[in-house]
């Protein structure tokens, strides 16, 4: 594989969370967090994950609840620092971990597009250029100057999604958000993701909807209890997953 064609490299990634609900940290630990993990019980969400993804691939991440899919996606997004190992990416990233992340209920749809847009990675010029497209894609033209607390959940979700699919990242991470929205909107979104992919965007897609994964992805990675269990053709990996559940 030519080096310049690599989009995401994950090497020996281990991700631990400390579980410290029973006890508050001592003041000394809070000040500096020296060797914090030594004194804490930790759970391993990801256990030595290694793989790489080339540019313009569309990869589905599947696995049971708690298998580490979302954690892996958040590590690639840079939200979680690796406990051990490396995550490297080439180019810009946009992640859609939750629809409406970064939205503020008291602000209008317009204000929220500008706010969340910047957090999602849309530059000011891009926002100016695409504002109408974002509003029309979300089908909220009439309500765009109302506070989004007055939006129906469908409108809220459509606006969040529309914003995310108008980002122009090199790598686009999507976590289980297509299940929301009606059939019509879902199809529109899948078409849009396909277009982005054709234009060169690398897609990493987490979903429990295996049919959707087959439709969107040409490669599939199966996580099982924090380990990488399978990696390959969607058909084969999905079958492996189904066998695993049985």
């Amino acid at each position: 594989m030519e080096k310049s064609r690599v989009a995401v490299v994950v090497e020996g990634l281990i991700e631990e969370f400390s579980i410290s609900e029973d006890r508050a940290l001592s003041f000394k630990e809070v000040i500096s967090r020296f060797r914090l993990s030594r004194h804490h019980k930790t759970v391993r969400a990801l256990e030595d994950i290694t793989f790489s993804i080339s540019r313009q691939e569309s990869v589905g991440l599947i696995g049971a609840n708690g298998s580490g899919k979302s954690t892996l996606l958040r590590c690639i997004a840079g939200i979680l620092p690796p406990t051990r190992g490396n995550v490297l990416v080439a180019g810009s990233i946009s992640s859609l971990i939750e629809l409406g992340a970064g939205f503020h209920l008291e602000l209008t749809g317009r204000e929220n597009v500008l706010l969340a847009g910047a957090l999602f990675g849309l530059t000011r010029a891009q926002l100016d250029e695409k504002f109408d497209a974002i509003v029309d894609f979300a089908e909220v033209r009439e309500e765009i100057d109302q506070p989004i607390r007055s939006y129906s959940s469908g409108m809220y979700v459509r606006l969040g999604f529309s914003l995310a699919v108008h980002v122009e990242p090199n790598i686009f991470l999507i976590d289980e958000v297509l299940a929301v929205g009606d059939e019509h909107f879902q199809r529109k979104c899948i078409r849009r993701i396909g277009e982005m992919n054709e234009q060169g965007v690398t897609i990493i897609f987490v979903s429990h909807d295996l049919g959707l994964v087959k439709k969107v992805c040409r490669r599939c990675i199966l996580l099982h209890e924090g380990r990488l269990a399978e990696d390959g053709e969607p058909e084969a990996v999905i079958n492996a997953y189904l066998r695993l559940i049985d």
Binding site: G78, I79, L80, N86, L119, R124, E168
Partner: protein, 271 residues
């Protein structure tokens, strides 16, 4: 279709933090605007609250000192306001800044952006708001005959020092508060003590010698002395006090950044 700028850097493999196309300053601008917009949403008085609260506080002290104890000094109303108005801004910055990560937990867990922008945006929004208050107060000061333009450099320095100090304290407290929620309870007590440990409702010269070192060691004292000089008295404050305050503020800022740099990568896991 990728733009050319991203094509140039696309071959370089880097850690994912900071892989957004949006420059941090742009994110900061958007966050500050959000703070300013949200602050007075669904409020009738809106911006006027930035005046009403400190004026009410000043009225209470005016009543206690001038009418009950009868100890007021010349220009006591202006003297009080020149201290209470900036104090109010400092107070709000610390309160909102300290809880900024806890308040925005969902956003932090789900979107990557440089974390430092969140508390800093809250302080900038409060300072912008305070600048409007200060503009109004300056107008009053000029109308009552004070040659503000001769002493305004003190106000500028005070604003600078107040901002540095706010950022330094808030960087530390905001991340600590994620691990130890006691901080957000302690902060109100801390602020109450600080209010009286700073020459806001009294003049520094009235402080008994025994307590003076404590008051002088407080970096906010030099901030207040400069506001007084620039807005009320026109008399240059003691340079030693100012330099000490400036030095302390820089140390607090450096410490704040150090604590923040150590703890902030873990925010998404802990908040």
């Amino acid at each position: 279709m990728q733009n050319h700028e991203s094509d140039r850097v696309i071959d370089e493999l880097r850690p994912p933090g900071g892989s957004s196309l949006v420059p941090p300053m742009e994110i900061l601008r958007v966050l500050v605007l959000k703070e300013l917009k949200v602050k007075y949403k669904r409020s009738i008085l809106g911006f006027l609250w930035s005046l009403v609260t400190p004026i009410a506080l000043a009225a209470v002290y005016l009543f206690v000192f001038v009418y009950v104890y009868k100890v007021g000094q010349e220009d006591y109303v202006k003297f009080l306001l020149a201290g209470i108005l900036p104090w109010h801004a400092f107070n709000l910055s610390l309160l909102a800044g300290t809880t900024s990560f806890v308040d925005n937990g969902p956003t932090i867990r789900k979107v990557y952006f440089p974390r430092i922008l969140l508390p800093v945006s809250i302080i900038i929004a409060n300072m912008v708001n305070f600048l409007m208050v200060l503009a109004l107060f300056s107008l009053v000061v000029v109308i009552t005959g004070f040659p503000l333009w001769l002493h305004f450099h003190w106000v500028v320095l005070a604003l600078l020092l107040q901002s540095l100090l706010s950022v330094g304290v808030v960087l530390t407290l905001s991340v600590w508060n994620v691990y130890l929620r006691d901080i957000q309870q302690l902060i109100s007590i801390f602020l109450m003590v600080l209010f009286f440990a700073t020459p806001i409702v009294y003049d520094l010269s009235l402080v008994p010698t025994a307590f003076r070192p404590f008051i002088l060691a407080n970096p906010l004292t030099s901030v207040m002395q400069m506001y007084r000089a620039g807005l009320v008295t026109g008399v240059a404050p003691d340079l030693g006090v100012i330099l000490l305050g400036a030095l302390e503020s820089l140390v607090i800022l450096a410490l704040g950044y150090w604590v923040f740099a150590r703890l902030s990568p873990h925010l998404a896991k802990e908040v």
